[in-house]
Each structure stands twice: as structure tokens, then as C-alpha cells.
């Protein structure tokens, strides 16, 4: 079976006055219908990787890759029109904070309907019905009421469910979730993950889960890619954090305070220049 997404030697370069920043420096992976996590700290290039696949890199950046293919479509050669129809249609993205990623001046229901009618030919009544169904699918108790609310009238957890509903309503094949639960409380975080998990499983989507939280993703995803300074330094099977070999990954796991451990002071990460080489 050919993979859903093939990324080979992806590079993202931002030109600056002093020469430029290499945000992503040769990332290679393939994705099937599975849950893949990309983990790293700020500046590791994890979000830039997700954005390059989605086609959301700002125009001044230079993207290059030996291959960047989504179900047979060469994303680097695709026309802007093709990219637009993929974006939000077959490839969808959930962003970190619903406060900033939902339109503040449009009711929630209308935003969901807007996504749906942009990508599929449905009538107004049908679109509304499907939006309500989708809100119910992300476990919003009173979809009719929430449909008419503005984003500022709902909590962060509910806003994030709305965002997921909006992204999944067109039935994408690939979902890129960029820190989808980092802005949420721990208890709400798990509810949202649970919904995401169920929908991804039921619909057989591919999921790229971008996060800084190594422990969270290893409990959630099938595979984990660890990024450092624009490169993948290690790939781990889920739940195998204890088998991590790269000193960066090990350091990252070690420096998190855990309940029931008594380590004073905490071990800190001793960054070595050769990791970034």
C-alpha cells in the first residue's frame, strides 16, 4: 500500500538580513493511516514541518524537498488552486488556541457550514444538519444552542471541540493537529484527545500530532518523531519512551518533574553542538 504522505528531505529556509534561518533541515518520513507525533521544543521546526505540508508557510520562506507527496499529488508542483482545494478539504489542520483560530465575529455554526460548503456541494439545510451532527459527534451536549454562539461565548475546551468539528466535517484524509490541547486544562485535555482519538480511528484518517509534550504524545500516538534544531534525531514506537537512545530525548524525558520522584536538583539538558550537526 502506498503511504498517504511522503516527505523526503524537506527543508524550510527563511531568508533574513544576516543570511537566513534554516527552520527545517532535511526531514524525511512517511505516514499511513496512523497517528504520528512530531515532538520537540520551541524552535525545533516541528510546527514548520506541519505548516509546510499544509501549505501555510509564509511567501518569503523557501521550501525544498526531494519529495513532498500527498496521495499521489506532488505538493511542491501543485498550483495555488489545487493547494486551496486540498487545504481544509482532504488535509485539515487544528491549531493550538481556539481563541485565536476561530473567527471572533462569526457564529460557530456559520463557520462550520462555511467550511463544508467551500469543499462540497451541499444545500443550506443539509449543511446545517451536518454541522449539528458534527457538533454532537465532538460531544457538545446542546448543539442547537452552541450553533448560534460566538467563539467568545464558549470555554476553551468547547472552542477546541468546535475547531475539531469544523476540520473533520469535510472528512479529511489527513489531519495535522498543532498543539491541539496545550491551551487547555489537563482534565479537558484528555476529553479532547479522547474525541480526536475516536474520530481518527473511526474515520481511518492519518494524523500528525505536533506537540512539545513527549509524555502525552507517547501515550496517544503510534509513532513518535523527536525533532531537534530542524532535524529528526530519533524515532520511537509509542510507549517505548524508556527505550529512547538519543541523549536529547533521554534528557528531555529526565528533566520533567514527576509525581512520586524526589530528585533535587532536577537533571538539566546539556545541549551538545553535535546534536544540531
Amino acid at each position: 500500500m502506498s503511504p498517504l504522505l511522503t516527505v523526503e528531505n524537506l527543508k524550510v529556509h527563511y531568508p533574513t538580513r544576516t543570511g537566513g534561518v534554516d527552520a527545517v533541515r532535511g526531514v524525511t518520513f512517511t505516514l499511513g493511516r496512523e497517528r504520528l507525533a512530531i515532538v520537540g521544543e520551541s524552535g525545533s521546526g516541528k510546527s514548520q514541518t506541519g505548516r509546510a505540508i499544509m501549505g501555510l508557510t509564509p511567501p518569503q520562506a523557501r521550501i525544498s524537498a526531494d519529495r513532498l507527496e500527498f496521495s499521489g499529488i506532488d505538493l511542491l508542483k501543485a498550483t495555488p488552486r489545487q493547494r486551496r482545494s486540498l487545504r481544509g478539504g482532504r488535509i485539515a489542520m487544528v491549531l493550538q488556541d481556539p481563541k485565536y483560530s476561530l473567527n471572533p465575529v462569526m457564529p460557530i455554526g456559520r463557520q462550520i457550514v462555511e467550511t463544508l460548503v467551500t469543499h462540497s456541494p451541499v444545500g443550506a439545510a443539509e449543511a446545517k444538519r451536518r454541522a449539528l451532527d458534527m457538533l454532537a459527534a465532538v460531544q457538545i451536549r446542546d448543539p442547537e444552542r452552541v450553533y448560534g454562539l460566538y467563539p467568545h461565548e464558549v470555554s476553551g475546551g468547547m472552542g477546541q471541540r468546535v475547531m475539531i468539528a469544523m476540520m473533520l466535517i469535510v472528512g479529511p484524509e489527513l489531519l495535522i493537529a498543532d498543539e491541539p490541547t496545550s491551551a487547555l486544562d489537563v482534565t479537558v485535555q484528555l476529553e479532547v484527545l479522547d474525541i480526536l482519538d475516536r474520530l481518527v480511528r473511526e474515520r481511518g484518517m492519518g494524523l500528525i500530532f505536533v506537540s512539545h509534550d513527549l509524555r502525552l504524545v507517547s501515550s496517544f500516538c503510534d509513532r513518535v518523531l523527536v525533532m531537534y534544531a530542524g532535524r529528526i534525531v530519533e524515532e520511537l514506537a509509542s510507549g517505548d519512551l524508556s527505550l529512547a537512545r538519543h541523549p536529547y530525548t533521554r534528557g528531555l524525558i529526565d528533566c520533567i518533574p514527576k509525581i512520586g520522584e524526589n530528585r533535587h536538583p532536577l537533571p538539566v539538558l546539556d545541549r551538545r553542538p553535535e546534536w544540531a550537526a
Binding site: D185, L193, S218, I259, P265, V268
Partner: protein, 250 residues
């Protein structure tokens, strides 16, 4: 243990919204005390109420034997109590150098010998003298948080109020800042009151804590009790379960 900070029957309201509802806590001298809960639980409001940054309707706050009502604080209060905020990007003046940022509290409190104090403060938080004339945008998040800690410590307070001091930082930087906080607490015999949503961080730093929800205290417990799972309230148990990560429902 001699109490250094106690809060009695505190009520904070924003219009009709009860942000804090009859909250009482006591923190002993040299202790490290945690406030845990979800957003909107009132944990940050409690910290801000102590610092005089939230409208206190009712109740009394005792600091070092001094009784405080309402939200006005005498200047001498801030020599004893200082605060470190969550977001190091928002809590430092963007157009002031580190030198200027550290000079301000000294000027406010008429503290002499600014020069050696600023040098010592930077040294204490592990920033070299080269950072002294930098602007906040020329530093990383962790370095900024070190400056914020230096600014709080420079007036030699007894109590440090910490509002999610590491939640905006990367895990590796969080470890460094937590180590720094523990080190200064030990060296200066400080009292900490720390807000966090991360039970791992709270049990690491604090000996005792309360969990809060909807502006009320749900449960008071020690770190050992939490570690051993000896929690009574259902909500605390929920928080504890959530901190263990995702469990796939089948």
C-alpha cells in the same frame, strides 16, 4: 511552624462573578505552598488578591503579623512580598534594559548600593554581566524568567508569589528555572506560594498544597499524600488521573 502568611475568609468578586468564595489558607515561614486547579478555579486570583491586584470584598490577609484589608498595600508590603508572573514575554517592559528593570525596584524602595546589587542579582540567577544591557527581546523565554526572578529578589523579600512561573517554558528550560527557584529558596530561606496546573511541578517544589475549583478550596493535602494517592476529594483524584497521561478507551 510560625505562620508568615494567612488568608481568612477571603471573597473576591468581579461584578456578580465570585472569583473567590470564602477562602482561608495559612502558610508557614519558610514553607513552599502550592495552589492547584483548572483555569477559572481562582488559584491565580488568590495569589493576586494577596499582592493587592484583585478587588478583595471581604476577608483579611495577615502578612508577618500585619493585617491587610481590601486591595491597597503599603509600600513596605512589597519589600516583604514579591511576585513572579507566568508570561516572561508580557511581564518585562519591552523598552527597558535589564539594568533599568532591576534599578526600578531599588529606586522605589530607596535602596542604596544599586550597582553591586544589580551585579549580584544577575549573578544569583545565573546570568552573566553581559546580559545587563540587553532588552527583553534579545533574550530567550528562560532568560527573561530569570530576569523576572532577579527583579523580585533584588528587594530581598521574605515571600515570593509565583504564578505558573514555568508553564510558558520548554521542558528543559523549566527544569533549569525550577532548580534556580529551589536554590534561592534554600539560600534565602524564602517562603513560596506557587500556582501551577502541573501536579508534577507542584509536588516537586511544594510540601503542602490546596486544590481549588470554582473559587473554593476543595482539599488541602501534603505532597506525600498526593504522591501516595491518599486523596479524598473526587476532583483531586481526577486531576491526579489526568496528570498520568492519555489512556485509550476501548
Amino acid at each position: 511552624m510560625k505562620p508568615v502568611l494567612s488568608v481568612e475568609n477571603l471573597h473576591v468578586r468581579y461584578d456578580d462573578y465570585r472569583a473567590l468564595d470564602e477562602v482561608s489558607v495559612t502558610v508557614g515561614q519558610g514553607e513552599s505552598f502550592g495552589l492547584v486547579g483548572e483555569s477559572g478555579s481562582g488559584k491565580s486570583t488568590l495569589l493576586r488578591a494577596v499582592a493587592g491586584l484583585a478587588p478583595v470584598r471581604e476577608g483579611t490577609i495577615h502578612v508577618d503579623g500585619q493585617s491587610l484589608k481590601g486591595s491597597r498595600r503599603p509600600r513596605s508590603f512589597y519589600r516583604k512580598v514579591q511576585m513572579v508572573f507566568q508570561d516572561p514575554y508580557g511581564s518585562l517592559h519591552p523598552r527597558q534594559t535589564v539594568d533599568r528593570l532591576l534599578l526600578e525596584p531599588l529606586a522605589i524602595h530607596d535602596i542604596a548600593n544599586a550597582e553591586p546589587r544589580i551585579r549580584r542579582a544577575l549573578d544569583e540567577v545565573g546570568l552573566g554581566p553581559s546580559f545587563r544591557f540587553r532588552y527583553p527581546h534579545q533574550m530567550s523565554g528562560g532568560q527573561r524568567q530569570r530576569v523576572a526572578i532577579a527583579r523580585a529578589l533584588i528587594v530581598e523579600p521574605e515571600i515570593l508569589l509565583l504564578d505558573e512561573p514555568t508553564s510558558a517554558l520548554d521542558a528543559s528550560v523549566q527544569a533549569e528555572v525550577l532548580n534556580l527557584l529551589e536554590q534561592v529558596r534554600r539560600e534565602r530561606r524564602l517562603t513560596f506560594v506557587m500556582v501551577s496546573h502541573d501536579l508534577g511541578v507542584v509536588t516537586h517544589i511544594c510540601e503542602r498544597m490546596v486544590t481549588m475549583r470554582h473559587g473554593k478550596i476543595v482539599e488541602a493535602l501534603t505532597s506525600e499524600e498526593l504522591t501516595a494517592g491518599a486523596v479524598k476529594a473526587a476532583y483531586t483524584r481526577e486531576l491526579l488521573a489526568a496528570s498520568k497521561g492519555f489512556v485509550r478507551a476501548n
